[in-house]
């Protein structure tokens, strides 16, 4: 028993925590959607894990790593393959879950299943390979002198932006839920049906996020463990606080649903840079993320007219992008020596690291463009084969019975008058 088993243990514990985030997403998304679709939203958030595991095991992992190949064949004998598979599949799973929030309450279960496999087999592996697998984005540093190349410690872009941008593409293709926009084009709110469940889900996510961010920390012996955890905590808290102030300022009351979004936005934003910035830096990143997240929710809903029931695009996409950029601004040079084969630590713009900033911007642009185009095309094509959207009647009645054969709350009276 030695340091390697310690590293295995830590990776496993963190992986477990990330798996537990699945329960957090399930509760958060379901709580923020309507009672008549609660079973359907739960079903998606549960099955996406199943699908992601199968898709990644069969094809995705092989594509991403290029090694032994598919179905983890021959892996049993090689513990490092097993551990890499584990640590990646839990991230992928989060990425694949995110669009279920943006596309909730109107998505056919059949097409969702196809989506899940596509994401796990192709989309996540591609971008993850480019950044974490030593691909061309990672090599921007060693080859073109752009700092350490695109750096993303725990997945602001690889996990969250992939999910958020895919969700945006999906929500655009699906169109808004019926009744979301008034005849004059202004949005109405469609309130989530179970706020306590949603908030409890957020708290579970907060808990799991420590595993999410601290998971990769043992690669170099865990020297940054403490700072990663403190930064995660501070950024989340700062973002919730700034979201609170922002909404209190904008309409005179703290809006719990936006604060919850803000909190998660802060956690998304700090994921990329949690090992590279100081506590004060984390605080700044969080403060910006909280406001940005709320403003983005308004923008997506009012200007883009995209209906994203849980705010996934803003939380994961926009704050993920901010997190990538923030790494290029706030990295203070305390960590990252030798990363991506570039000697020296990671420094952002504010610490004299202009090239790193550039690398991050490139990473963000590539992610947005790539994922959006691929997913938009995918959804458009899929829609021809298996319609993405349920019928109007099913949408009014709720997707539960017709899509997943349950009634979420059969003993309670549910109001469905809202269109």
């Amino acid at each position: 028993m030695n340091s390697s088993i310690l590293s295995v243990m830590w990776t496993l514990i963190c992986a477990f925590l990330v798996i537990f985030m699945q329960a957090g997403f399930a509760m958060m998304e379901t709580g923020f959607t309507r009672a008549k679709n609660a079973g359907h939203t739960m079903a998606m958030t549960m099955m996406v894990f199943v699908i992601a595991v199968l898709g990644y095991w069969s094809i995705g992992y092989g594509l991403q790593t290029g090694s032994p190949g598919f179905f983890l064949s021959g892996a049993a004998s090689d513990a490092s393959i097993i551990m890499l598979f584990l640590s990646q599949v839990v991230y992928l799973n989060i990425a694949a879950t995110i669009p279920t929030g943006a596309m909730a309450e109107r998505w056919t279960f059949k097409s969702f299943v196809v989506y899940g496999f596509f994401m796990a087999m192709f989309v996540y592996p591609l971008y993850a390979r480019w950044v974490w697998g030593g691909g061309w984005l990672a090599q921007l540093g060693a080859r073109f002198g752009l700092g350490h190349g695109v750096v993303d410690f725990a997945g602001s872009s690889i996990v969250h932006m992939v999910g958020g941008v895919a969700g945006l593409a999906g929500a655009i293709v699906l169109g808004p839920r019926m009744g979301k926009y008034r005849a004059n084009g202004t949005p109405t709110a469609i309130p989530g049906h179970h706020i306590p469940m949603a908030v409890a889900g957020c708290l579970i996510l907060f808990f799991g996020w420590f595993g999410f961010n601290a998971g990769p920390a043992m690669a170099d012996g865990g020297t940054a463990l403490g700072i990663i955890v403190v930064n995660t905590m501070l950024a989340g808290a700062a973002a919730a606080a700034s979201a609170l102030c922002y909404v209190w300022f904008v309409y005179g009351k703290p809006d719990l649903s936006l604060i919850a979004n803000g909190l998660l936005g802060g956690l998304v934003a700090i994921s990329a840079s949690c090992a590279f910035v100081s506590p004060a830096g984390a605080m700044m990143i969080g403060l910006v993320a909280g406001v940005l997240c709320c403003a983005s929710v308004f923008f997506v809903e009012r200007k883009l007219k995209v209906d994203d029931p849980v705010g996934a695009v803003s939380v994961h996409g926009v704050c993920g992008a901010w997190g990538m950029v923030a790494l290029g601004l706030f990295s203070d040079g305390a960590y990252g020596d030798g990363l991506n084969n570039v000697s020296g630590t990671v420094r952002g713009l504010f610490y004299g690291g202009g090239p790193q900033f550039l690398a991050q911007i490139i990473g963000v642009i590539v992610n947005v463009v790539l994922v959006f185009i691929v997913m938009y095309a995918f959804f458009k094509i899929l829609d021809r084969i298996i319609p993405l959207r349920v019928s109007e009647e099913v949408e009014f009645e709720g997707l539960d019975q017709s899509e997943v054969a349950v009634t979420a709350y059969p003993d309670f009276s549910i109001t469905k008058t809202r269109r």
Partner: protein, 113 residues
Amino acid sequence: MIKIEAIIKPFKLDEVKDALVGIGIHGMTVTPETKGFGRQKGHVEIFHGAEIDISFVQKVKVELVVCEEMLEKALAVIQEKTRSGKIGDGKIFVTRLADVVRLRTGEHGNAAI
């Protein structure tokens, strides 16, 4: 036999009930999940940064069947307990019934009230 149907504010229910019991009303049926609008027109709530029009206000429907003689007294009591003078106080509808049956005994008419 008269049925009095009063649509009132939920938080007046306990008071109204106690007052009616006080004047000798022996039975009452309540439908708590009632919504309505009158001159009071609903309101706007906020969720996730967008507005939502709540067009129906939560009310409670109280039904009581009384004999002819109690009608005035019951109406008076309900009015007294619910009247704030602000819109939304509610409304009473009075209907004449053809019959009442007490299931326990099979009694009909006034005896069954």
